[in-house]
């Protein structure tokens, strides 16, 4: 990446999201950029990754030739286990999610708004993926961090006053990490936590449709 490039790329967003992790945390990482967060866990921080298809203690990808069809993550990728790994069924997995046992989820998003609403599962008439476990995660975990591009390919803000897409959860997002910076959801609007590399606060505000307070 060229010196001085404006904003963060996918890996930098993941690295920034990894700073949200605290030692001893149980964390669920969503599909896409959130999956990359596992590559940037700070030294000395020991976290246990939950995969909602039924695993605590998710390890890295297997070496070539060692893939096990019975061992995948929620993104259907082949993975490995660790010494502390435990397997369980889907009802148990979501019992721990819904029951608030997972400290944090880091998820992707299509849209987010200033009240913490999140949309990441469908575009009516156009794209349907399904909510998978995202609705359960945002309803159940202790803290929800969203990692996403700040704007669409057409330059339109995805950090909105009101979401236009069907919601995944209402008032569920705590922190938003985008290619342009980090924002927290407050009672009266968003708060700027930090700007990404070479992004000014004015640029961050300009790219944000949502109300940013103080």
């Amino acid at each position: 990446m060229a010196e001085g490039q404006k904003g963060w790329d996918r890996n930098q967003m993941a690295a920034r999201a990894a700073l949200e992790l605290r030692d001893g945390m149980y964390v669920n990482l969503g599909i896409g950029i959130p999956t990359l967060v596992a590559n940037y866990i700070p030294a000395g921080v020991n976290v246990t990754l939950q995969s909602e298809n039924g695993m605590l203690g998710m390890g890295p990808f297997p070496f070539e030739g060692e893939e096990d069809p019975d061992l995948i993550n929620a993104g259907k990728q082949t993975i490995t286990e660790l010494p502390q790994t435990a397997y369980f069924d889907s009802a148990q997995s979501f019992a721990m999610i819904r029951g608030g046992k997972i400290a944090m989820a880091i998820l992707g998003a299509m849209e987010v708004n200033q009240e913490g609403d999140l949309a990441n599962w469908m575009i009516p008439g156009k794209l349907v993926k399904g909510m998978g476990g995202a609705m359960d995660l945002v309803a159940g975990v202790g803290r929800v961090v969203v990692v996403m591009d700040h704007t669409s390919k057409h330059g339109e803000s995805k950090v909105l006053k009101h979401c236009t897409l069907p919601l995944t959860g209402k008032g569920v997002v705590d922190r938003i990490i985008t290619n342009l910076g980090v924002l927290d959801v407050g009672h009266k609007g968003l708060h700027i936590v930090e700007c990404a590399d070479f992004v000014t606060e004015a640029e961050l505000r300009a790219a944000t449709e949502a109300t940013i307070v103080d």
Binding site: F63, T78, M131, P166
Partner: protein
Amino acid sequence: MNKVFPTAQAALEGVLFDGMTIAAGGFGLCGIPELLIEAIFDAGTRNLTIASNNAGVDGFGLGILLATRQVKKMISSYVGENAEFMRQYLSGELELEFNPQGTLAERLRAGGAGIPGFYTRTGVGTVIAEGKEHKEFDGKTYILERGIVADLSIVKAWRGDPSGNLEFRKTARNFNPPAATAGKICVAEVEEIVPMGALDPDKIHLPGIYVHRMIQGEHEKRIENRTTRKKEAV
């Protein structure tokens, strides 16, 4: 009482009928009852309602029942990996009841556990909550979700004994236990049937009481998304 049948076809004899509801285990292509799905394909049973987190892929798993239009309705949380599934849904050819993944798992467990309804925060404030009863508990709003009781459960396990006790392997467990409990009849396919007493009674994931019929067979166990790292990279 003999629970072991020679083939998937024999194990499903007399339990299939048009318009039935089936609960199926598996997540993606992991831990899916691939042999029983093939037998339902061969039987040509139609107008099926299937509760399954995913619907396989084109040409494998439940995808083969979508291709033949044997499925009237899916109850699923994710269609992302299946082009035909998405196409049939968007064109209105297939009914699709989206369930959050945890709600689907709990609905199957509840159905099997004699619980006709439970309250959850999941989906409150979204389209999932529309038309569902809302109720306050301790100042928070929850929605009522219903238990699912299926006519038939089809599940896949790693090993089983002739009394139907099942053991699953790694993340291939997933929806199989809750799906197994939700059916009035449960048919299981396993990689290996071991002698009575070969399973450690403390380590049985699904007690045999839930399993009415079972078969042993060869499984393809296709990998959907092969991801690896290089040894050099470590």
